[in-house]
């Protein structure tokens, strides 16, 4: 390892307690890495140098005093810029929140602080998390550390790139239709979408409230487990958060998959999936069978309609969620002759084209006379998708598929073709519609040297079973290669 910045969270935690280095040194290492990589990647919208160093010093003092907050104590973590951080700009990558500093921490952020984590900064995303490439950011795109001519996926592309490049030990993203898992797949990192309601959404700037879920991104399954545990659990400020205690996912990491019934989703292995990706997934499934799992093919027939349903439900909810950005109470304002005109001008100037497209789509889908044909119909599909999963889990313990139909694609390749862009989430969206947990684990590189992600889906609240499989996939894949850009050395062009 060339730098402290490349350690796993577990290794860094051990080193801190052994006195090999300090939290300040870990934070400084991450700052150094970011100083090298940010010019190429633009993973961050804001890096809080002073705040992070102060938090690191406090963490060091506490450890010296014998106060240990657990696995994340003193560990530098990045947070997607759609999660509110008290006093630290939070823009959701939109001009409409330019310079906005929230007066409160999102529950997940507050829990990270309580766990002793050092918040490094705020990572880039597609504006309001609407996109699959992080090209929709109002502040410029993020690039993939494996090949800066390609996208890191999205919308949590900044978090994914930072973790892959070593400018954070771990990060948090949000996943509405695949926004954690797809960028994890495209950057060779582990990305987890927990059960809907497992992590409080309080302080997460809403895109589609019934689908949004916060989750961790990390360089190992074990690190992801520690990150998830720090933020999971009931929050009285989120009425949709689960009261049930989160399972101890760390305990299931060494269990193995012997006797576990694993279903490969037929609809996610054929048409539209890059053969090289499908082949890698098939091969990993076979190796899981070799490790004692019972492998079968499972059909989720309604998943054919899931993408269409998603692109009605998510825009419908976002059309209401984004209504509050009106220039009245916060954010930049464009004046007008009347209040109505001021609001309209502010929104027209503040929102980017993809956001406007989805707000219009959602407004239309909810309109009188169209509701039944669009939003109502989409809700029925959602019920069918849930039914498919319920039926499948009668016969298997987990489902697997590719995370993304392709590996990382070139910057600009899909910006003018929204439908092609939306298709990125074809394997991930069903889990958002059902609310079940799912995660992506890297299993290798394709012929172009770009990572392939393996998608594991589990029944609601069964994150422990999902992590059990993920840990085995990680062992079998033995994916230890890092992107060339993950270095503190000066790179020559």
């Amino acid at each position: 390892m060339s730098s402290l910045a490349d350690l796993s969270i577990a290794a860094a935690a051990a080193g801190l307690r052994a006195g090999e280095f300090t939290a300040r040194e870990l934070t400084a290492a991450v700052h150094r890495r970011a100083a090298m990589t940010e010019a190429h990647l633009h993973a961050y919208l804001a890096i809080d140098h002073e705040g992070a160093l102060a938090a690191a010093d406090a963490a060091d003092e506490e450890l010296a005093d014998g106060r240990d907050r657990g696995p994340l104590h003193g560990i530098p973590i990045a947070v997607k810029d759609n999660m509110c951080t008290r006093g630290l700009t939070t823009t959701a990558a939109s001009q409409i929140l330019a310079g906005y500093r929230p007066p409160y921490d999102a529950t997940a952020v507050a829990r990270l602080r309580t766990a002793g984590a050092v918040i490094i900064g705020k990572t880039n995303l597609d504006e309001f998390a609407m996109g699959s490439s992080t090209e929709n950011s109002a502040y410029g795109p993020t690039r993939n550390p494996w090949n800066t001519d390609t996208v890191p996926g999205g919308s949590s592309g900044g978090s994914a790139a930072a973790v892959a490049a070593g400018s954070a030990f771990g990060a948090f993203g949000s996943d509405t239709g695949g926004s954690i898992r797809q960028p994890a797949a495209l950057t060779g990192t582990v990305g987890v979408k927990p059960t809907y309601g497992r992590v409080s959404r309080y302080g997460l700037i809403a895109f589609a409230s019934s689908l949004d879920q916060i989750g961790p991104m990390a360089r190992s399954v074990e690190d992801a487990a520690d990150l998830l545990t720090a933020v999971a659990g009931w929050d009285r400020l989120d009425a949709t958060s689960y009261r049930e205690e989160a399972p101890d996912v760390r305990r299931s990491l060494a269990t193995g998959v012997f006797g576990l019934r694993i279903g490969i989703v037929t609809e996610m292995m054929g048409e539209g999936i890059e053969p090289e990706v499908a082949g890698a997934v098939r091969s990993m499934a076979d190796r899981l069978a070799g490790a004692g799992a019972e492998l079968s093919e499972v059909s989720l027939p309604a998943s054919e309609y899931a993408l269409s349903a998603y692109y009605l439900i998510a825009p419908a909810e976002c059309s209401a969620n984004l209504a509050r950005f009106d220039g009245v109470r916060y954010g930049p304002r464009v004046e007008g002759a009347t209040t109505e005109e001021m609001m309209a001008r502010t929104r027209a100037a503040g929102f980017g084209p993809e956001v406007i497209r989805r707000v219009l789509l959602g407004t239309y889908a909810l309109s009188a006379g169209y509701y039944d044909a669009f939003y109502g119909q989409a809700q029925k599909v959602r019920t069918l998708v849930r039914g498919d999963f319920a039926a499948a889990y009668q016969h298997v313990d987990v489902l697997v598929s590719p995370t993304s139909p392709t590996t990382a694609f070139p910057v600009g390749a899909k910006v003018d073709d929204p439908i092609a862009m939306y298709y990125n989430d074809v394997c991930t969206i069903p889990s958002n519609l059902s609310g079940d947990p799912a995660m992506s684990v890297p299993i290798g590189l394709d012929g172009a040297g770009l990572p392939v992600g393996f998608h594991i889906m589990a029944p609601a609240l069964a994150e422990d079973r999902m992590f059990q499989v993920a840990a085995e996939v990680e062992r079998l894949a033995d994916f230890t290669v890092r992107p060339a850009l993950a270095t503190d050395e000066v790179r020559l062009p």
């Binding site: 302080g203 059309s319 909810l366």
Partner: protein, 481 residues
């Protein structure tokens, strides 16, 4: 042709819970602007609503009092429209599956019993307040608008009637009775002038005997019961005028202009908003199980209809009964006074006359005066046995209210006890007869004219303390009448 009016009312009531509907901010209208606010009620990015259970208790008690079915599972919806004092630019409300369905309220309209059906009672949140600064105070001419979000998110209950109301008088009577019910439950002060109770009226007319509904208008901004009555009466006459002139009524929203005494068109149906209702994804369906419903019913206080029936049974009239219900603390004082032995009718007259007048004049509550139930019983006994005249009793009551002491003590100090002892009065009468033999002789001959003079003489000689009824009785007896 004669016309029948068809009226339905929508009533909004702000609940006076400790905190707002979806956050922990206090419900308090005395605060400086924008101090009772937080990320949730200001709709800051990322904030989420959480249902205030106390508000649900409040609306359930209203629903139960209006004989509604309390639904076991109800849903919240987003009602989408842009307005600067609506922070989220959607209101969390209910749509299909409200908390309470299908009740009724019995309403006395000038002595006639009527029943108004309740379609639904649902829960929503209030908006902030806009203050338009500029020439006319209207939004379109304002130079700028100031916003106060203290009211944003205050629990708001909407009570919707069936189109069962047939007159402006009935609408007003419904408003008054509903206000009594809300106040008896203690969930809101239901004050129209302060906006904690607000009415919208849907009005249409049709030929008498027709079963079809005419085109309706909705009248908003009605902020007193008198305005409600006037606005409806005006709108009925206006619609009759339109139809009798061969025109047709436009389906539109109209604004009651108090100064003009008229309704004014605001916006037509074509311009009306499409609220794009959809289920609120930030909140789970609300479950009110049988046990909770039972608790709500068990906790209901005596409702105005029951109190009225009980008061009337003691002998007071309906008007007095309503006054006892309407003035806080008087009903309980009445009950206690009757229990202590006071004559119900007399106690009712005093409480709704002298006592109410005193409370209003001094702006105090019944409990803050010197008057107790025992005082009323004592006073009742003193008039009953003739020791106090009706006039003297009122004077004593005033002094007791002012804290001068018990009725006995006051009457003693003020020397108001009537002499009704026959022996003493007979002596006084005998003395007057001796002084005025001619007048008495006329009386003895059956000429009643001098009786007033003779009674007056006795009253004068006794310093006004003789009971005039007894004096007259003694005089008649002595004259052999």
């Amino acid at each position: 042709m004669t016309w029948e009016s068809v009226i339905g009312l929508e009533t909004h009531v702000e609940l006076q819970t400790a905190s707002k509907m979806f956050c922990g901010c206090p419900v308090d209208f005395g605060d400086d602007p924008n101090t009772a606010t937080c990320p949730v009620c200001l709709a800051l990015p990322g904030a989420l609503p959480v249902v205030n259970e106390a508000a649900i208790e409040g609306i359930l008690s209203i629903g139960a009092a209006l004989q509604c079915t309390l639904t076991e599972s109800s849903l919240f919806y987003r009602k989408n429209y842009f307005y600067p004092d609506l922070p989220k630019n959607y209101q969390i409300s209910q749509y299909t599956f409200p908390l309470c369905l299908g009740g009724h309220l019995d309403v006395d309209v000038n002595g006639t019993q009527t029943t108004v059906g309740i379609t639904r009672v649902h829960m929503e949140e209030d908006t902030g307040k806009s203050l338009h600064v500029g020439a006319s105070g209207r939004i379109d001419a304002a130079e700028h608008t100031l916003l106060d979000f203290n009211r944003a998110g205050v629990p708001l209950v909407e009570i919707v009637t069936e189109p069962d109301i047939r007159s402006a008088d009935q609408a007003r009577a419904y408003g008054i009775e509903l206000q009594r019910v809300i106040r008896s439950l203690g969930v809101s002060d239901a004050r129209l002038e302060e906006g904690s109770m607000r009415f919208d009226a849907n009005i249409s007319i049709r030929p008498t005997g027709s079963s079809e509904l005419g085109t309706r208008t909705e009248v908003k901004n009605v902020n007193s019961l008198r305005s409600l009555q006037r606005a409806i009466a005006f709108e009925i006459e206006r619609q009759i005028g339109v139809l009798e002139d061969g025109g047709s009524v436009n389906q539109e929203t109209r604004h009651w202009d108090e100064d003009q005494g008229a309704t004014v068109a605001m916006r037509s149906k074509e311009e009306s908003e499409d609220y794009r209702y959809f289920q609120e994804p930030d909140l789970l369906p609300l479950r009110v199980d049988a046990e909770w419903q039972e608790r709500v019913h068990a906790a209901l206080p005596e409702l105005p209809s029951a109190a009225r029936a009980r008061f009337v049974a003691t002998g007071v009239d309906v008007r007095t009964a309503d006054l006892l219900i309407d003035s806080e603390g008087l009903g309980a004082l009445f009950d206690a006074a009757v229990a202590a032995g006071a004559d119900a009718r007399t106690a009712g007259i005093w409480l709704t006359g002298e006592v109410v007048a005193y409370l209003r004049r001094e702006d105090v509550a019944a409990a803050e005066t010197g008057l107790t139930a025992n005082d009323l019983a004592e006073l009742s006994a003193m008039t009953g046995d003739g020791r106090l005249s009706a006039t003297a009793a009122k004077e004593v009551l005033g002094a007791v209210l002012a804290g001068e002491g018990s009725p006995e003590a006051v009457a003693e100090v003020r020397d108001l006890i009537q002499v009704s002892d026959h022996g003493a009065i007979e002596d006084a009468v005998a003395a007057v007869i001796t002084e005025h033999p001619d007048a008495f002789a006329k009386l003895a001959d059956g000429d009643m004219k001098p009786i007033g003079f003779l009674v007056g003489q006795v009253m004068r000689s006794t310093g006004g303390k003789a009971d005039p009824r007894v004096v007259q009785e003694v005089l008649r007896h002595k004259a052999g009448l």
